[in-house]
């Protein structure tokens, strides 16, 4: 299974995705630099990504805590999420995401 991640320079990279891993871990394992300073505990906003709108309906809504943490990210839009809070499953095979400001 795969996800497609566009980095801050605009280059898209295909990443091998593992079920039950967070999207943050998949990005990091795939060799794309991502700060993720708190290590994936929804305690910072340094894994800010944009999820392609076509895929948003397949992902559970963000928690209040995640929405709050996004206050520490920049250029937050309706598509903004924290990559550590999205757990990959087979329904997300092929998902497209883009790194957001503050993630590198």
């Amino acid at each position: 299974m795969r996800i497609y991640c566009t980095d801050m320079e605009g280059t898209e990279k295909e990443l091998v995705a593992t079920e039950e891993w967070s999207v943050m871990e998949i990005i990091r394992e795939g060799g794309i630099p991502i700060l993720a300073q708190c290590g994936g505990s929804c305690a910072c906003a340094t894994c800010h990504i944009y999820v392609d709108p076509a895929w948003k309906s397949k992902i559970p809504e963000p928690t209040e805590e995640e929405i709050g943490m996004l206050d520490g990210a920049f250029e937050v839009t309706q598509d903004s999420r924290l990559a550590c809070q999205i757990i990959f499953n087979k329904n997300l095979d092929g998902m497209k995401i883009k790194l957001g400001p503050g993630s590198i």
Binding site: Q37, D71, G72
Partner: protein, 350 residues
């Protein structure tokens, strides 16, 4: 506020940079080895990431502590190191490290504190916590002149047309504190909800209701001005409309991020912003400078608090040899050694 006046040097045995869990436990291990410590941390309190990022989040992998929060772990470590009377220098960044003519290390902080010791232990985790800067093109030219990420002197904002950005406690505290002296304040936040003390939110909303300040729900997308002096910020609201808001000062509070900072210029080897160490002693390539916790790297390294504790114990053994060259290192257990128990203040004789 501390000035930049250099103060007279304080002498100690070991300078620890970073008062996170690993820096705190280093005090314990060094203390058992009769090594006295001073700690420097850029945060205004102990705990490092445990205090700043996850004070209320549970930690489950501390041996024999099935669960504790970041704040609890910090409290317990502070209690554990009390017998060794560590000295803390909070709210200061370790800025410069140099050798004195006597061969000691002299560390100078950005507040002018000078510490001198034969040994330096870097336990700086992910680096220094510094304010996040918004990725706005050209904002650097305004920083320190009309754009600020912290308040050093409130007078800087007297009679100013001020924009404060952010939605947390820092943003709201400064809205409330500066509102009486500023000419006008507009708080800009991306959504109409605030992650701050309910009392502060209430006070801010009351000021808005009275017409004493403005609240705009928007993102700041650019800054306008000349020669470092801001004249307006461009706002982008949820309807994707852009408009300019005139101001002469911007204070932005988007939280903190970790940067390696001046440690990069201390003259020790770095590998991808981490400090390689010898795993027998946790000494860096420079003798008498040690690195423990998340900031070091070696084959097999795992960034766990647990690893940092282990590293502190091995580091302390080598530091003992530097500080007490005339004494023979003696391996002892706290359970059975009356010597160690005396140091901990728990011996029957004490």
């Amino acid at each position: 506020m501390t000035g930049n006046m250099e103060q007279s040097p304080i002498s100690t045995d070991a300078i620890i940079i970073g008062a996170g869990p690993v820096g705190l436990f280093a005090v314990f291990e060094l203390g058992l080895n009769d090594v006295k410590c001073h700690l420097v941390d850029i945060l205004d309190r102990p705990g490092g990431q445990c205090a700043e990022l996850y004070p209320e989040k549970p930690i489950y992998d501390i041996p024999a502590v099935p669960v504790c929060t970041g704040a609890e772990l910090t409290e317990r470590l502070l209690e554990q190191i009390t017998p060794f009377h560590p000295h803390f220098h909070f709210g200061q960044m370790a800025e410069r490290l140099e050798k004195t003519p006597e061969g000691k290390w002299r560390l100078t902080t950005d507040s002018g504190t000078i510490l001198e010791a034969p040994v330096v232990v870097i336990a700086a985790g992910g680096g220094s916590f510094v304010p996040k800067k918004p990725p706005i093109k050209g904002i650097d030219a305004y920083e320190g002149k009309s754009v600020f990420y912290s308040v050093r002197k409130m007078e800087e904002f007297r009679d100013r047309k001020l924009v404060i950005a952010g939605g947390g406690d820092s943003a709201l505290d400064w809205v409330i504190n500066l509102q009486p002296i500023a000419k006008h304040i507009t708080l800009v936040h991306r959504r109409d909800e605030f992650r701050a003390a309910p009392d502060s939110v209430m006070k801010m909303r009351a000021l808005v209701a009275e017409g004493a300040m403005d609240l705009k729900i928007a993102n700041i997308t650019s800054v306008l001005g000349e020669g470092g002096m801001i004249s307006a910020v461009e706002l982008h609201d949820e309807h994707k409309a852009h408009h300019n808001l005139a101001c002469d000062r911007l204070l932005a509070f988007y939280g903190l991020t970790m940067k390696l900072g001046p440690v990069a210029h201390f003259g020790i080897n770095l590998h991808e912003n981490l400090i390689p160490v010898d795993t027998a002693t946790f000494e860096t390539n420079v003798a008498t400078i040690f690195a423990i916790g998340d900031i070091n790297t070696y084959p097999g390294k795992m960034k766990l608090i647990l690893s940092g504790f282990h590293e502190a114990a091995l580091m302390a053994k080598k530091v003992f040899a530097y500080i007490h060259p005339d004494r023979r290192y003696r391996f002892q257990y706290t359970t059975s050694s009356s010597d160690l128990q005396q140091k901990l203040g728990v011996s029957e004789a004490a």
